[in-house]
């Protein structure tokens, strides 16, 4: 029977016993659990990566303005600025991640990975990684399978949805998927790949979901960029052999625990945090439909 992606420990054990590359049991899982052929899986993973690449390109070339006015071609501004705060690669990473996410906010086509709110993170990370290290598409497709395996485990033990676990569950999970994918692509060991996931979760823990006016724009877009940056810093730390101290499965447990204890106003309800600031409220008033018929309360039986 295929590995069921209950935790990272059993994935690592599977690797030690079989020596299979990390993506292999993910492939096997989908074949056995979902009745798919291997050809179908590679084809659709390739399609997903094509859509990601296309989203990056669209975000950097087309007009990206949202109806609320909160999104206004941020990715293109970053790409065009003459000021480079760290390195040209870093600037590109940020611009690409913002771009793909802006496409999502502006009703363009994206891949929810793992969710629509986090749809800029893997595109930004993977296209930049591929560029810098001259990786072929096959490597990136394998890395996407590894990322899917990571997400399956997080979903099983914590959550991937902002409405359930806060933004740490959404952008945090995407960053963790990306960090593991980076280490995989660069030939790090399996423990190093999982340590990158652990370190990323440690960095993203506690982040609340507080979208202004309930729209997936502010702070979602800039958080995609910071999540991509954190994925790279975590991968850099892990691939150097630094020990995260708290094992990855326990980090996932912490993610679940923090998510559970978070108050509802920090779970996509637009009641707390940035959504509840005076400016956030003013924007909300502007964006929400005002012409609405309110039905009388029905007496409870």
């Amino acid at each position: 029977m295929s590995l069921l992606f209950q935790d990272f420990a059993s994935w690592e054990k599977h690797y030690q016993e079989t020596g299979e590359p990390l993506y292999q049991p993910v492939l096997q899982y989908e074949i056995e659990q979902k009745d798919r052929t291997e050809a179908y899986i590679w084809e659709n993973i390739a399609r997903a990566y094509d859509v990601m690449r296309e989203a990056v390109k669209t975000g950097l070339t087309q007009n990206m303005t949202s109806r609320s006015g909160m999104v206004n071609n941020g990715a293109k501004k970053v790409a065009a600025t003459p000021i480079t705060v760290l390195s040209p690669d870093f600037k590109l990473l940020i611009a690409r991640t913002l771009g793909a996410k802006e496409v999502n906010s502006c009703m363009g086509r994206v891949v929810a990975a793992p969710t629509a709110g986090a749809s800029g993170i893997l595109p930004g990370i993977l296209t930049t990684l591929q560029d810098i290290h001259q990786l072929d598409d096959r490597k990136i497709h394998e890395a996407l399978l590894v990322a899917a395996g990571i997400a399956l485990i997080i979903e099983e033990n914590a959550s991937l949805a902002g409405a359930v676990g806060g933004c740490q569950a959404e952008t945090g999970s995407a960053a963790a998927m990306g960090a593991g994918a980076i280490v995989y692509c660069l030939g790090g060991t399996v423990p190093q790949a999982f340590n990158a996931v652990a370190i990323t979760i440690q960095c993203m823990l506690g982040l609340v979901c507080d979208p202004v006016a309930g729209l997936v724009e502010v702070p979602c877009i800039v958080r995609n960029a910071s999540a991509a940056a954190i994925a790279f810093s975590s991968a850099q730390i892990a691939i150097a052999g630094v020990d995260p101290v708290i094992p990855v499965d326990q980090c996932v447990m912490a993610l679940g625990e923090v998510g559970q204890s978070m108050e509802t106003r920090y779970k996509e309800t637009a009641l707390g945090g940035l959504a509840n600031t005076p400016t956030g409220r003013a924007i909300e008033k502007q964006v929400l439909v005002q012409d609405i018929e309110i039905l009388p309360d029905t007496p409870s039986e």
Binding site: K34, V110, V111, A112, P114, G214, E217, L288, E293
Partner: protein, 224 residues
């Protein structure tokens, strides 16, 4: 235990933003509704309820619903420009918002459609991740996801009709996933909504259509 997710729920779906419940789900409800109507609608009155009532514009659900009425799929990049395509297709539409509808799911919309074949009223819920539920058709309670194949039957309320239909479907090797039966009163017109795991053969459909006590049937294959 909940069913395990697919890796394409982790890397996917490919969709039009911003959110699966406000775009993909809404597109699918509209695509289901035009199949219930059985033709391209000429006019559409769309009512957004509860949470949808205030947020539909900001999230682009108005464009999503019109796109669905034009039968665009959930990953069609034309969704954003659907109003322009509706004008070209001559589709007339209007939107309305109703709040505090306490008996309804937070993300509910109602579609009143009319076209050359007649008119229908369809109520659907967008339940997250693009998953939908059609909960009412012409005032009759229903319960189908449009993820499977659905058979809608309008018939006289004759004894044994439910068992008979179930039997016919079983003979076509179809597994029934859900079934909702409702009627206005005893011996009045009844509606059956039957969701099946696999497609029905055209021959079986024709047989059912020609039974004397059947008034009308509509077959809705699974909607992407």
């Amino acid at each position: 235990m909940a069913e395990k997710s697919s890796i394409f729920d982790m890397i996917g779906p490919v969709m039009i933003g911003p959110s699966s419940s406000h775009t993909a789900g809404v597109v699918r409800i509209a695509r289901a509704a035009i199949r219930v109507l059985g033709c391209q609608p000429e006019t559409a009155e769309i009512t957004f309820y509860n949470s949808f009532a205030r947020t539909y514009e900001g999230h682009g659900s108005d464009r999503a619903v019109i796109a669905g009425l034009l039968d665009f799929k959930t990953d069609d990049i034309r969704i954003k420009e659907s109003f322009r395509y509706a004008a070209e297709a001559g589709l007339q539409y209007s939107f309305k918002s109703v709040g505090n509808a306490s008996a309804m799911h937070p993300n509910t919309l109602k579609l009143n459609l009319s076209g050359p074949n007649g008119q229908v009223e369809v109520v659907g819920q967008s339940r997250g991740g693009g998953v939908i539920r059609i909960v009412e058709v012409d005032g009759f309670p229903s319960d189908f996801s449009a993820n499977l194949h659905t058979l809608m039957i309008e018939a006289d309320d004759v004894k044994g009709s439910i068992a008979f239909i179930a039997d016919v479907i079983a003979h076509d090797d179809c597994n029934i996933a859900t079934m909702t039966v409702s009627r206005r009163g005893k011996n009045q017109l009844a509606r059956q909504f039957i969701e099946m795991d696999t497609a029905l053969k055209p021959l079986t459909l024709e047989y059912i259509r020609h039974l004397s006590w059947i008034k009308n049937i509509t077959y809705i294959p699974n909607i992407e």
